[in-house]
Symmetry: C2
Subunit: 338 residues, 2 copies
Amino acid sequence: MDVIVAIDCMGGDHGAHVTVPAVLQYLAKDPQSAFILVGRKPEIEAELARLRAVPSARLRIQHAGEVVEMDDPPATALRGKKDSSMRVAIDLVKKEEAQACVSAGNTGALMAMSRFVLKTLPGIDRPAIATTLPTLNGHTCVLDLGANVDCTAEHLLQFAIMGSELVGSVDGKAQPTVGLLNIGEEDIKGSDVVKRAAELLRASDLNFYGNVEGDDIYKGTTDVVVCDGFVGNVALKASEGLAQMLGTSLREEFGRNLLTKLIGVIAYPVIKHFKNRVDHRRYNGATLIGLRGIVIKSHGSADVFAFGFAIQRAVEEARTGVLRHIEERMSHVQQTAA
Amino acid sequence: MDVIVAIDCMGGDHGAHVTVPAVLQYLAKDPQSAFILVGRKPEIEAELARLRAVPSARLRIQHAGEVVEMDDPPATALRGKKDSSMRVAIDLVKKEEAQACVSAGNTGALMAMSRFVLKTLPGIDRPAIATTLPTLNGHTCVLDLGANVDCTAEHLLQFAIMGSELVGSVDGKAQPTVGLLNIGEEDIKGSDVVKRAAELLRASDLNFYGNVEGDDIYKGTTDVVVCDGFVGNVALKASEGLAQMLGTSLREEFGRNLLTKLIGVIAYPVIKHFKNRVDHRRYNGATLIGLRGIVIKSHGSADVFAFGFAIQRAVEEARTGVLRHIEERMSHVQQTAA
């Protein structure tokens, strides 16, 4: 047993019906992992019973009576729900009883609680939300995705350092390339903050590629793409919306009449392979990066398959020591600046 | 003949080889339209000869010796290329010899020249770039897409007015709904500028829906989506990148082996119908809105089919009197404010 992950079993649209089976499936695959199921004990036990599973040394239950609702304002959740499954899961990371936690709950509350309980790493002003998006030949790590609406150039530099260490640690890539999201490749493009961030990035010891544009995210031009949380959030959600629209259109076309339905049956293996390949559920699990602990945010609507990827993400990050790497890099940056 | 459009025949990646045939095809469809082909006369004549066409009352050539290159800085193009096809096309709108112009050239140069030559409409501080994006059941008008990196709340209000009038005029929709692009639906979300813009929009006589998120663009939640140019540009390009990635993946899956290729042949009619439906070329033609004249920007890589839609857009806008509607609305806003 080399890593223990605390799971907020009550978070997300489906609560224990998704989180508990996802943990059981993951446990079966990864014999070195262990989990603490956090939430209302009766509900978790009922779910375990339904799945004919029992607690063990690798699977213990930690009762937490409250639940953070999807529409709870972060401040309310932070002050009022100290016995929530989300909060207790984070507390377990703080107490070092777990090396990471995963929640499909309310992002704002998760960020507020994590920041309050775990604090940020030395030299990091603000945590960011980082996720991995698919490209034609691999994937790109994009941050920030919505934690920070107004960013300074220094914040963007910190995001770049964190993203770089994240990719370096999890993907084992030495000196990942970093792109700065902008509206043109030329240095003169963009806002003053972005221009100044480019200067800082050029002066840093990161492998800075230069400006990239929105389409470079999916082209995989760089390993890391850095942007403020407003831009990142809009880009991610616009992508989700487009993917959904295209998926629905494709389904509608195959469902148009008897002939197209028949063609759909014939084409099914190819379409299925295509869908598997671009399945966004494989990319579920955003990292709240910059904290003194690993916190993974799953999509609220995640199913068992998707939630499994968020768990895998937590385990992988816990095993790599990414936080130590960020800390080392930040102390180096600060020494250089001093 | 009710509308004359000036075409920058030299702009874009393919110049006269695309622009001239697109005009001829459009002319054949729309007997009330007329065109001025602007650019190097010998090249345009050669293209007309290749297509067995001749100038006429509805198709005249206006010689312009220079060409704005894709990498010409806007200031250089503005000062140094007064005899360029782009500039002469805009001048024709200024002189009211044409009611609109279309260019597939360098966006920055087109905006700089248009602003310099045509000036903005009364009450409009900055022109914006507006485009139409497909939704499941129609389309949404999004602006700004990159003309304005830093926007105030007042600018966003002006964009909303322009977008609203554009949709109202071209689609004949009374009181189109307007969404403000944000990172959450709640009023407390977003930057100070966005929050203040929401207040202005609520106080206006526009049909303001409230905040929308990135995925709402493709859901078609509102008729108009307003954002600053940085965010809009990134969202648009990220969408382009994703669509390209998905298209390539789908092609690769059908091309995997002999069996999948065979399935591809069988599925071809359905896939083709799907592709037609979501073909981005149908949405080619962004409007530089807020100027005292209609200027349409085609994608630089547009083919004949795509460029035809930019031409259609120019003709439609010229026929609606959209600029007069914006002017009327702005004078009303100013009277209310005074």
